[in-house]
């Protein structure tokens, strides 16, 4: 082994570096990555449990079928709210004042989604689908419930953004951080819908 001198011992004077993205955005992206893995775990669990079902009958005999058609309304509401938040994103570039209207609409649609989902729960409980009645019911309440909690948390995030906007102190990174989480909640739903309801 020989000694070498050709290393980067002298460099130009360092400059303050630019950030790739705001800390909040990076933190939220990493957090969403973990969340995706969490739901991937749940969804693979459903897949496996369904595949081991007796005689391949799913939902198990005597268990109600999930309301596929009615849930389409929920799904549409949630997707639309995602679109509206996208609108808010682009209007923010023009003026922070303009985000309020689409933001409120997105929140209301999100709240409608959670409300409809709650109504669906009550109806299904009445029809005899409980967490204890079968693995079908257990997965339904577990996954939909956890997704609903995420939706509520995300609405909370949007509410915070709205308050900042009303105070006139909303900055881009706050909006983007809340947006990432809301998009995650929105885009996750079709996957859950496709895996659980059919």
């Amino acid at each position: 082994m020989t000694t070498v001198t050709s290393t980067s011992a002298v460099r130009p004077e360092p400059r303050p570096k630019k950030k790739i993205a705001h800390s909040g955005v990076i933190g939220m992206l990493v957090f969403v990555l973990t969340e995706i893995m969490f739901f991937a775990g749940l969804i693979s669990a459903v897949t496996i449990t369904r595949s081991t079902a007796l005689m391949n009958i799913w939902p198990p005999p005597g268990q109600p079928r999930l309301p596929v058609e009615e849930t389409l309304i929920n799904t549409a509401a949630l997707l639309l709210s995602g679109v509206l938040l996208g609108v808010a994103h682009f209007r923010f570039k023009k003026s922070p004042e303009l985000v309020k209207a689409p933001l409120i609409a997105a929140m209301l649609l999100g709240a409608a989604f959670v409300g409809l989902q709650g109504a669906e729960w009550v109806a299904l409980l009445a029809q005899g689908l409980t967490p204890q009645s079968s693995a079908h019911g257990a997965f339904f309440y577990l996954i939909v419930g956890i997704h609903g909690l995420h939706a509520l948390a995300a609405i909370g995030g949007l509410a915070y953004v709205l308050r900042r906007a009303q105070q006139g102190r909303l900055i881009a990174s706050e909006l983007h951080t809340a947006e990432i989480f809301w998009y995650f909640v929105v885009l996750l739903w079709p996957v859950i819908y496709g895996r659980l309801y059919f």
């Binding site: 082994m1 000694t3 001198t5 290393t7 980067s8 011992a9 002298v10 460099r11 360092p14 400059r15 303050p16 570096k17 950030k19 790739i20 705001h22 800390s23 909040g24 990076i26 933190g27 939220m28 990493v30 957090f31 990555l33 973990t34 969340e35 995706i36 893995m37 969490f38 739901f39 991937a40 775990g41 749940l42 693979s44 669990a45 496996i48 449990t49 081991t52 079902a53 198990p60 967490p131 204890q132 079968s134 693995a135 257990a138 997965f139 577990l142 956890i146 995420h150 948390a153 995300a154 909370g156 995030g157 915070y160 953004v161 900055i171 990174s173 706050e174 951080t177 809340a178 989480f181």
Partner: protein, 568 residues
């Protein structure tokens, strides 16, 4: 939790450096160093509990049915609780908080030249959740039925029903504690990754980041990417226990093997999650005390990344005999053996770093070298378990126990001792006693080998794990094997007693050790630029980086070290 980032990110960059009250300084601190200390001391306290449990059940194994001083008789259910608690505490409440949370919190901002983490409030919340999880775990010892007794892997259906595992509320508390603990590290991980990305000192390129910071960040990424499925599994298991769902109950349409997949998908990457920070610590210590540039910095980085990637493809080797598809087992045999390549290469790089050095055998250096020597044995014995054919025989024997203690003990204790002895002057502004440190080192290392080499032998002879007493298995109940078990127990007693020396040294030095200067080891990295101990806000003058962290013995320079912040 989900909106926390939104609330906090405004506080990232500016820090108040005004005097603080006792409460805001020690109990609810935002300072990353104080949070690191909280993690460190909580981890040390939990290590005492974990050490006590191992003392009790090793006594039972050596002298079955005897009265264990300080505990009493060890009944089989108590035995199960003790081994479960030992495994859980040592991995989740000692190795993780000390190696990742404490050292990550302490070192990342200091070593990259930042004044604090980017999310100090999330950082504080992380410790508070961690403390809560520790309290929940401890409280499970005192509920009716006692602590959880279904092994740290918590395989259902045993873990899912109280009438199977003979523990009631304890098993649910155990699950809640583990899940909370993961949430705590998740918050910590977000912080580490973001901080290392956004808060580096001006001039610090990616290849100027000290290896230990890289390793903690890579470990955090691995943790974040693997923990999700286990949290999902933990919630499902908790539902099974408390709400009567049937996720893992085969009689009602569930599948018990599912848990094993969710568990080991996290469980094996977890090994690398704690291994990588330990490897990083060793890199810092050996370069400082061999006065050598780290051999092939980029190679170490790539091998660490490769370990992280392949680490996601090896987990099913824990299930070779669990009834999974044998073709899948063949695939996982291959991946498991492939992962030995980057890990071995990392060790080769460290050995090559020693070449041509000027090695000073201080206490931290002894620990770091011992890590390499001992971890090599832990690594090579893993090959026996990664190869599906021989795993049929060794699975769930004491061979496995000895193997993973040869990896986890170097990780969680040897590397931690290296870290504590190395950074003690920085953390507390005083030097530790070298003589006591060396006595502690030699007794611990020798006793450690005397514990686990006998266990390799009993494992090879067919002793399987989690048996409170071998007398019902005539082939295992022989005088030779029993003598080996007694030898291991005596060695353990010696090792536990040796830790008293450490605590004496630690607290004595804390109070009355000689004052440490800024850079007692003549090291290059940025933490040695800050005063010892660093004040809130870390640096007197925020540093600027001009070179890599390992410029020792540079031919252009009189001094054999060249701090990162010194202009050329």
């Amino acid at each position: 939790m989900s909106t926390q980032e939104t609330h906090d990110h405004g506080h990232g960059d500016g820090h108040a450096h005004e005097p603080q009250s006792f409460l805001s300084k020690y109990i609810f601190p935002l300072d990353h160093k104080m949070i690191a200390m909280q993690y460190l001391f909580t981890g040390m306290a939990m290590a005492l509990i974990g050490g006590f449990t191992v003392y009790v059940f090793r006594m039972q194994l050596a002298f079955p049915g005897a009265h264990v001083p300080g505990f009493g008789m060890v009944s089989p259910d108590r035995y199960n609780m003790l081994v479960t608690s030992h495994g859980t505490i040592m991995i989740f409440w000692v190795a993780m908080p000390v190696l990742i949370a404490a050292l990550g919190n302490y070192l990342i901002p200091l070593m990259i030249g930042a004044d604090d983490m980017v999310f100090p409030r999330i950082n504080r919340l992380s410790y508070q959740i961690f403390l809560l999880s520790a309290l929940v775990l401890i409280s499970s010892f005192f509920v009716t039925g006692g602590a959880f007794g279904g092994a740290w892997t918590a395989y259902p259906p045993l873990s899912a029903r109280g009438d199977y595992n003979a523990t009631g509320l304890g098993s649910s508390l155990w699950l809640v504690a583990v899940a909370l603990e993961f949430v705590a590290f998740l918050l910590g991980g977000i912080n580490f990754i973001t901080t290392a990305m956004n808060a580096r000192a001006p001039g610090m390129k990616l290849t100027d980041i000290p290896m230990v910071v890289w390793m903690i960040v890579l470990a955090s990424i691995m943790f974040m990417a693997s923990v999700g499925p286990l949290v999902a599994g933990a919630i499902m298991l908790l539902f099974d226990q408390q709400l009567g769902t049937a996720f893992f109950d085969p009689n009602r349409g569930g599948d018990p093997v599912l848990w094993q997949h969710l568990f080991w998908f996290f469980g094996h990457p977890e090994v690398y999650v704690v291994l990588l920070p330990a490897m990083g610590i060793v890199a810092e210590v050996i370069t400082t005390f061999a006065r050598k540039k780290l051999f092939a910095y980029k190679t170490v980085l790539y091998t660490a990344a490769a370990t992280g990637i392949i680490g996601f493809f090896v987990w099913a080797h824990h299930q070779f005999i669990a009834g999974i598809d044998p073709r899948m087992a063949s695939l996982f045999t291959i991946t498991t053996l492939i992962i030995s390549v980057p890990v071995a290469e990392m060790l080769f790089v460290y050995i090559a770093t020693l070449y041509g050095g000027s090695i000073r055998l201080t206490t931290p250096m002894l620990w770091a070298l011992a890590f390499i020597a001992e971890f090599l044995l832990g690594g090579v014995t893993g090959i026996f378990l990664g190869a599906a054919g021989s795993d049929i025989y060794f699975h769930d024997t004491y061979f496995v126990v000895a193997h993973f203690h040869y990896t986890f003990f170097p990780i969680a204790f040897i590397a931690t001792f290296a870290a504590i002895t190395y950074w003690f002057p920085k953390m507390f502004g005083r030097m530790m006693d070298e003589r006591l440190g060396k006595i502690h080192f030699w007794i611990t290392i020798i006793a450690f080998n005397f514990i686990f080499i006998p266990l390799f032998l009993t494992g090879a002879a067919g002793d399987h794990r989690r048996i409170y007493n071998y007398q019902h298995f005539p082939e295992q109940w022989t005088p030779t094997l029993q003598n080996l078990r007694i030898l291991a127990t005596y060695a353990l007693l010696v090792m536990i007693a040796a830790q008293v020396i450490f605590f004496v040294n630690f607290f004595k030095s804390l109070k009355s050790g000689p004052k440490a200067e800024k850079n007692p080891w003549k090291a290059n990295t940025l933490e040695w630029v800050a005063p010892s101990p660093p004040p809130h806000g870390n640096f007197e003058e925020m540093p600027t980086v001009y070179r890599g962290p390992y410029e020792y013995g540079h031919p252009d320079r009189e001094l054999d070290y060249w701090p990162q912040n010194e202009p050329a």
